[in-house]
Symmetry: C2
Subunit: 191 residues, 2 copies
């Protein structure tokens, strides 16, 4: 199925280029060069660069380790920590200067692409909701203080995480990511 | 002093356009149109769009209410809250979809402009350091638990703030900003 392979190559190339360069700075030419396919074939699969970027965001979100988060086994807080630490290691493996696609697009595409901005807003909401669900479980099991409202804390932790990814990106070091993880789970939620 | 007025108009126009559109999407033509000055006059004052953007970032950082933060009067935690709440109100007044220039540039310019990225990284460090200084004072006065290390907590709060600004920007609502403020100061630091 050569058609499918070309589409896969295209999405993979676009994922890499859009993460490294951002949306506006990445041309379709950069994307097809990274994907190793002829330029014209982009439009056999996608209507536009925006349409391709939407698929890249959907794949990016689908690759988050949500399964580990919702695994009924094990301590809820330990699972939430694993969710973030796995995400951090994937970020570092790609290169901290690439950052997070959701974080990058949340600041770059407002006013330029409503479909991408809406998808990013929904995806951040999904992450926050996932964290909230596990925190609720933690509270029910007595792992989390009753004064910490999971509905507020979940999105708050995602914000703190995204802020640390942006700072890691611009300062070129993983230290903010490690600091987020240790401080959140060893100090903030342990008190 | 007409020269100075043109430069001021230019920096003000650029501040608005770079915040609203981002770096790559904003052309020098957009900037001079917003500033109401002829295009050629940009290069009487700045070597390049990058050079102009550096000045915009410097002004942006200088406009933070650091004075209130370091005011020796009043409770340190109350001053830190005022610092963030004033910054939130300024963000809302500009329009939440503009976000924060430091947050926007932290994700957009890595790999594209080392001078701007370095300035943004330094500015975020300065904000984190400012928060740390006030938190140290709070700890000395017994306002903050001894298990919260100000050197880690300061940058952590700035990350959480920047994450909430990005989420407010992409979701078009101030709710994440209010949530950051209330949860940080009414729950997290009060326990």
């Amino acid at each position: 199925m050569p058609q499918r392979n070309v589409k896969e190559q295209l999405v993979e190339g676009a994922s890499q280029v859009l993460l490294e360069q951002g949306y506006h700075a990445a041309s379709v030419g950069d994307i097809v060069a990274a994907a190793g396919i002829p330029k014209g074939s982009v439009y056999n699969h996608f209507d536009s660069k925006e349409d391709l970027a939407m698929e890249v965001v959907r794949r990016y979100v689908a690759s988050y380790p949500f399964d580990a988060l919702l695994d009924p086994e094990g301590s809820p807080l330990a699972r939430l920590r694993t969710f973030f630490s796995d995400t951090i290691e994937r970020t570092v493996a790609r290169g901290v200067t690439s950052g997070c696609l959701l974080g990058n697009f949340s600041t770059e595409l407002v006013g330029h692409s409503d479909p991408i901005s809406d998808l990013v807003a929904d995806s951040l909401k999904q992450m926050g909701g996932g964290a909230t669900a596990v925190l609720e479980e933690a509270r029910e099991r007595g792992e989390l203080d009753a004064d910490l409202d999971p509905a507020v804390l979940g999105p708050y932790l995602v914000d703190a995480f995204e802020g640390s990814v942006a700072r890691a990106k611009v300062s070129g070091t993983r230290a903010p990511l490690d600091s987020f993880l240790d401080f959140t789970f060893d100090v903030l939620l342990k008190r």
